[in-house]
């Protein structure tokens, strides 16, 4: 008898859920809960999650006279593209996702895009900075991050202003994103008159940088640019410090942006990261919360300050929300039109997508800036914006020691 009652309850709850489903939109995505991309991907996910909770607390997205509550459908992609297509197909067809967010990383996103494109589903991408993905002919992708070419060229500009005679070493992860970043940066450095004395890519799962570090020392480089993702970047920094490599400037991709970076202690200090967003940035938000409000809410929820992945995640939600509001509903074609027309500044900065067919969806509004880990008065490492000079919160410390 009890069992019957239970089943009846279950059935009726399903029924109720369907009755309200018109008022709900489903956002589908995969998260790398395990595997190499775990840290960065989860930070991105927290951005999504905070946005969802705030929207739902405010009664949902209001568009065309309706209130849409936001719900998520998500799976673990294990940082591996093997199942990405299976999972995105499932998200689209079984979970009936209305819109999609990308997995973390350029290569997983490219794999997911094959499925989302042919189902003509809009997918906002964060953590997929590499330009190539947007130049394969995709028409339904929208990139939230500033593209990869910008990451290190900005650092070279900052270096040029400080020490045009520096000798440069590139040490970077042999992965889509970092190769896409370093290749143009190397050319740019030479064009700016720097002597590039060493350049080597390391395998994505490297933990022992001893051999590379010996080579960097041998090359007499004074500046090191490169890195990849969190795991390898933090290890590289730690070992550079342990081996007392005499470098005046270290700029690493992605890793130093994470709040976890502070755990490196003294090894953390002085390292620069090209960033999509920093809590100190003072963009005047035309839409959505201010940077300070976002930071406060995020820290309250997760007990840690947001990284730019988190901000990117939140901003993806925000941009989608705005597009739905402007489209007056969740019709894909109308939302796509609204996204194509988007040119807005939020706490995250300016967002504008390219509408040229050859590079549709490429981010053209957003820009990279640089942040450096410096010691505050109490000696604790904190991140300061040092570039562009107009938006800086502290001066570049050069050389590090």
């Amino acid at each position: 008898m009890k069992r019957f009652a239970f089943i009846a309850l279950l059935l009726s709850s399903c029924f109720i859920a369907t009755a309200f489903s018109q008022q709900t939109i489903t956002l589908g995505f995969t998260v790398s809960r395990t595997g190499a991309l775990n840290v960065d991907s989860v930070e991105q996910y927290r951005g999504f999650e905070l946005w969802r909770d705030q929207v739902n607390a405010a009664g949902g997205i209001k568009a065309g006279g309706k209130n849409y509550k936001v719900q998520f459908a998500s799976y673990d992609d294990e940082s591996n593209s093997k199942r990405v297509q299976q999972l995105y197909t499932r998200l689209i067809l079984e979970d009936k996702a209305d819109f999609l967010f990308s997995p973390y990383s350029s290569s997983l996103t490219a794999t997911a895009a094959v499925v989302t494109e042919q189902n003509e589903k809009i997918m906002l991408t964060t953590g997929a900075a590499e330009e190539k993905t947007y130049k394969l002919g995709n028409q339904c992708l929208y990139q939230m991050f500033a593209p990869a070419t910008q990451y290190l060229t900005v650092a070279i500009d900052a270096l040029k202003a400080k020490d045009p005679k520096a000798t440069v070493a590139f040490v970077y992860e042999d992965a889509s994103f970092s190769v896409a970043v370093v290749t143009p940066a190397k050319a740019y450095a030479q064009q700016q008159g720097f002597n590039v004395v060493f350049s080597e890519a390391y395998a994505p799962n490297t933990t022992d940088f001893g051999a590379i570090i010996d080579k960097v020392i041998g090359s007499k480089a004074t500046v090191l640019l490169g890195g990849g993702h969190y795991a390898d970047g933090s290890t590289l920094a730690r070992q550079l410090y342990g081996h007392k490599v005499p470098l005046k400037m270290i700029t690493l991709l992605v890793a130093p942006d994470s709040p976890q970076w502070a755990e490196l202690g003294d090894a953390a200090v002085g390292v620069i990261v090209p960033s999509q967003w920093e809590p100190q940035s003072t963009f005047k938000a035309q839409y959505g919360p201010s940077g300070a409000d976002f930071g406060k809410a995020y820290t309250a929820k997760y007990n840690t300050p947001p990284s730019y992945e988190s901000a990117g995640g939140y901003a993806s939600g925000l941009i989608l929300q705005r597009a739905i509001e402007q489209a007056g509903g969740i019709d894909t074609a109308k939302v796509a039109a609204a996204l194509n027309a988007t040119d807005v500044t939020t706490f995250y900065g300016r967002t504008k997508f390219s509408t040229q067919p050859s590079e549709h969806g490429l981010q053209v509004g957003h820009a990279i800036f640089l942040a450096q880990w410096q010691k505050d008065k109490s000696g604790k490492p904190v991140k300061q914006v040092i570039w562009p000079l107009a938006g800086k919160s502290a001066d570049l410390v050069y050389p590090i020691h």
Binding site: T34, D174, A201, G210, A211, D214, S234, R238
Partner: protein, 286 residues
């Protein structure tokens, strides 16, 4: 000091840790003809064990090796009865699969607890600086500990009754049984020591590099290379081969991109297998 010397010293130091890891694999393989595919998972458990112990006690990480080895022995006995005892003398596929199954379970549980994020043991010993090159204290202590453990094992195998019994069983199990040696007990002890060595090497690696629950796999592959270079069932030879492998890495890395090193190592591995199937340190017999 020139780069190649620095690089070879680094190689020597890390090579002794590879050697220690391989000793465990080599011992088990040599004594009971089981290729222990839990090896990588045990190395990973060594890493996390050290992480937990160090965070709980905050004493010198290298002193914690003793409790780690004790823990490894217990773990070894458990795994022996869970997955190994009943596959000894069965076709090689059986032991490969049963140890692989345990490996999957350990990795699965580890992933559920620690996810696959990197962890660090925040312990560092000041290093020695020679010119521009600095050799970290951790590398030196790890190498020293590895050699010390290897010597202790060698003494155990040569001097004690149980040690001699292990060697006898490795040599010829039937003959050893005829002489009244209980092979099940000996196999269990040998297996437990093998696991303890893997755990110890994982604990040492955790003081050098960050690690995830999946990190053991790479060291397991290196252990295969080292074991084959040394020849089976020669634990001390494995240590020597490990050091040689480290030196080789150190010697070639200044001249080529390090991403080519695995190709060289594993290419060499396959060649050695084909040319000297019993290891380069064994005399050829018909």
């Amino acid at each position: 000091m020139s780069g190649i010397f620095a690089s070879m010293i680094d190689g020597l130091l890390i090579g002794s840790v590879y050697g220690l890891a391989a000793m465990g694999l080599s011992l088990i393989w040599g004594v009971m003809d089981v290729i222990n595919l839990t090896h990588g998972a045990m190395i990973a458990l060594g890493m996390f064990g050290m992480y937990l112990l160090f965070n709980a006690t905050a004493i010198n990480a290298y002193l914690l090796l003793a409790p780690m080895i004790a823990g490894g022995l217990i773990l070894g006995v458990i795994i022996y009865w869970l997955a190994v005892n009943w596959v000894v003398d069965r076709p090689i596929l059986m032991s490969l699969l049963s140890t692989f199954a345990v490996n999957m379970m350990v990795i699965g549980i580890g992933t559920a607890i620690w996810s696959t994020s990197p962890y660090n043991v925040d312990f560092s010993v000041p290093g020695i600086t020679v010119g521009e090159y600095t050799f970290t204290g951790n590398h030196m202590f790890a190498a020293l500990s590895a050699v010390l453990i290897a010597l202790l094992l060698e003494m155990f195998l040569r001097r004690t009754r149980t040690g001699k019994a292990i060697r006898a069983v490795a040599d010829n199990r039937d003959a050893a049984e005829l002489m009244g040696i209980s092979s099940t007990r000996v196999l269990m002890v040998a297996f437990a020591i093998g696991i303890a060595l893997a755990v110890a090497s994982g604990a040492l690696v955790s003081t050098l590099f960050p690690f995830t629950i999946l990190s053991g796999a790479g060291y397991q592959l290196k252990s295969f290379v080292v074991t084959v270079l040394a020849g089976l069932g020669k634990p001390f030879g494995a240590l020597v081969a490990g050091v040689l492998l480290g030196l080789l890495e150190g010697a070639v890395s200044p001249f080529i991109a390090i991403s080519w090193i695995p190709l060289i190592e594993f290419g060499l591995f396959v060649l050695v297998l084909i040319v000297f199937p019993r290891g380069i340190f064994s005399r050829a017999t018909a």
